[in-house]
């Protein structure tokens, strides 16, 4: 029997679902290999089903989303967070702990009681997440490779090395040494150091390497390199504000 799969989206730009639809060459193989029960972006048809694997994109920002997520969790053997929003809360979390949601709502809508919303949180704030496919958006290749394992009930090999590794394997010079603030050393690799390879400093879109990233050391290195604390904080928060050590950065 083919594994039953659901692909769901919460608060985010749907870029990760789009990446899956964009698989072009492999999409037919993929769809042939599994029994797709729901795919929010590709079709409005949703079957009430149990899932072998649920891929979930987006961050959780409303009580309704939380409830639906909990429902998906109950029905799924494996739950995989796809993309930075699902993994860390996304850019919409970048002001967490600085600006309250009520204040934001007031500023935009003139009242803080329009909807009940939460501060943007990753899926893991509410349910157990079995595996994370990071990125903004996710990498096609990585998704396919992970799918090959997941569809067999195995957990894929997670990337736990920084962007710097692939940056050096590609023999790039280091942007930090050219006076740019590069988040490569703190950020999960797997993008083949896309940005530094084009001469652009990494903005950390693949999220922090959990439990590994040397935030304190980086703060010292950035400070000594002359970067202003506000700038450093904003850069760190862009994709990973919910990471406890980054949330604390003053």
């Amino acid at each position: 029997m083919k594994p039953k799969v659901g692909i769901f989206g919460f608060t985010g730009c749907a870029g990760d679902q789009l990446m899956i639809l964009n698989l072009e060459d492999e999409l037919l193989d993929l769809v042939g290999a599994l029994d797709l029960k729901s795919f929010t972006m590709a079709s409005s048809a949703v079957e009430e089903s149990d899932y072998d694997v649920a891929f979930v994109e987006g961050s959780i920002t409303t009580p309704k989303q939380k409830q639906k997520l909990e429902e998906i969790r109950k029905r799924s053997k494996l739950l995989v967070a796809i993309g930075d929003c699902a993994a860390w809360g996304g850019v919409q979390a970048s002001c967490n702990g600085i600006l309250k949601v009520e204040e934001k709502m007031k500023e935009v809508y003139g009242s803080d009681k329009v909807w009940e919303i939460y501060e943007s949180k990753p899926l893991s704030a509410y349910v157990k997440v079995d595996f994370v496919l990071p990125g903004c958006p996710i990498e096609k290749e990585e998704f396919l490779r992970a799918a090959a394992s997941l569809l067999r009930g195995d957990l894929p090999e997670a990337v736990d090395y920084p962007v710097c590794v692939e940056c050096k394997l590609r023999e790039n010079g280091c942007l930090m040494l050219e006076g740019k603030l590069c988040l490569g050393p703190l950020t999960v690799g797997g993008c083949r150091a896309r940005c530094p390879s084009l001469g652009v400093d990494c903005i950390g879109c693949r999220g922090v390497i959990e439990g590994e990233a040397r935030i304190k050391s980086a703060l010292q290195v950035f400070r000594e390199a002359g970067f202003k604390p506000d700038y450093v904080r904003a850069r760190l928060r862009m994709f990973a504000a919910n990471y406890p050590e980054i949330l604390e950065v003053k």
């Binding site: 090959a148 736990d160 920084p162």
Partner: protein, 328 residues
């Protein structure tokens, strides 16, 4: 050893001859760095340079390589038997290759490395040291073996040392001239001047013991700024560790096995089944790296790359001075 002389005007002839033996990889300047890459014309080659970003190791042990491919029950190892030439390798890097040979050629022999090494000619050239080089303190300032030919710049000509049978055959080609004591003396004086420019020193006396007895606080201090990025390993000519992964297609009928350079400054290097990591932080990892390079055995060749390319500005030589208890 045989010695010969080559007029600089005849270097293109040697280059042509090398090209007829395989693809030539040589130092080239591009985008503000010097890198070994395939060249077709001697004009592309940067003959005088300080160091390449990645060492020439990358051509014998590629950063990422497929080691086998399988389909169904069948598998085939992906050996490469292409003839190649590494042209313009410095003393430190020739010595770096010798250190790798001990790992990959002695038993168990690594067939992937061994076949490349056997099919690759190495032509050395004297270097242009800078303030980060300390090859002379680690015994790598002069290459005595490990090359086919070594070119020493004497101004208008090169003294050529011949280091192998293949090199011998090359040196018998018509554009080479005989060389004797006079040229060898000249080259020795030039090398003495060159090595004199290597000002950086490290004192390795008792270093292994000093590393072993350094306390946790000391290590925390030397690694305080370390970002655990892995760069220091990835640019090192003598780092030998790699990681292996299987890449499968969706139906798992087909796939390939690849290996990629690894780094002992990264999490997974010492992670074992069950989740235990016997080098959990940069402290243990730094101890491991330094012991590997200058502990019981000296594996560092003093090329300076790990210092030059560390994004946190951590200086290898200063770390060792700190371990010795000398003021930084």
């Amino acid at each position: 050893m045989r010695y010969a002389k080559l007029a600089k005007a005849d270097l293109p002839k040697l280059f042509q001859s090398l090209k007829s033996r395989g693809e030539v990889f040589a130092p080239v300047e591009e985008g503000g760095k010097v890198t070994f890459r395939k060249v077709d014309d001697l004009k592309e080659v940067k003959l005088e340079y300080t160091r390449t970003l990645l060492p020439p190791k990358k051509l014998l042990l590629p950063p990422e390589e497929e080691i086998l491919r399988y389909e169904g029950e069948e598998y085939r190892e992906s050996f490469e038997g292409k003839k190649a030439v590494l042209f313009g390798v410095h003393h430190c890097d020739v010595n770096g290759l010798l250190k790798l040979d001990r790992v990959f050629l002695d038993s168990p022999r690594d067939e992937y490395y061994a076949r490349r090494r056997e099919n690759t000619l190495v032509v050395g050239i004297s270097c242009v040291p800078d303030r980060y080089c300390f090859c002379t303190s680690v015994g790598s300032g002069y290459a005595t073996t490990g090359f086919d030919l070594f070119l020493h710049d004497l101004g208008r000509e090169y003294l050529v040392r011949v280091g192998s049978g293949e090199g011998y055959r090359l040196s018998k080609e018509g554009y080479f001239q005989e060389a004797g004591k006079k040229e060898v003396e000249q080259a020795a004086r030039m090398e003495e001047r060159r090595m004199g420019k290597v000002r950086r020193r490290i004192n390795l006396a008792g270093m292994g013991d000093l590393i072993e007895t350094e306390g946790k606080e000391g290590w925390e201090e030397v690694s305080a700024k370390c970002l655990a990025c892995g760069t220091c390993n990835l640019v090192c000519p003598t780092c030998q560790c790699y990681d292996v992964s299987d890449l499968l297609t969706l139906d798992v009928r087909k796939g390939s096995r690849v290996r990629r350079w690894d780094s002992c400054m990264l999490k997974r290097h010492a992670l074992v089944a069950g989740g235990l990591n016997f080098r959990p932080t940069v402290v243990e990892r730094t101890v491991n790296r330094l012991s590997c390079k200058v502990g019981e055995e000296v594996r560092c060749v003093g090329c300076g790359r790990c210092t030059v390319y560390c994004p946190a500005g951590i200086d290898f030589v200063e770390m060792l001075s700190a371990v010795r208890g000398e003021a930084r």
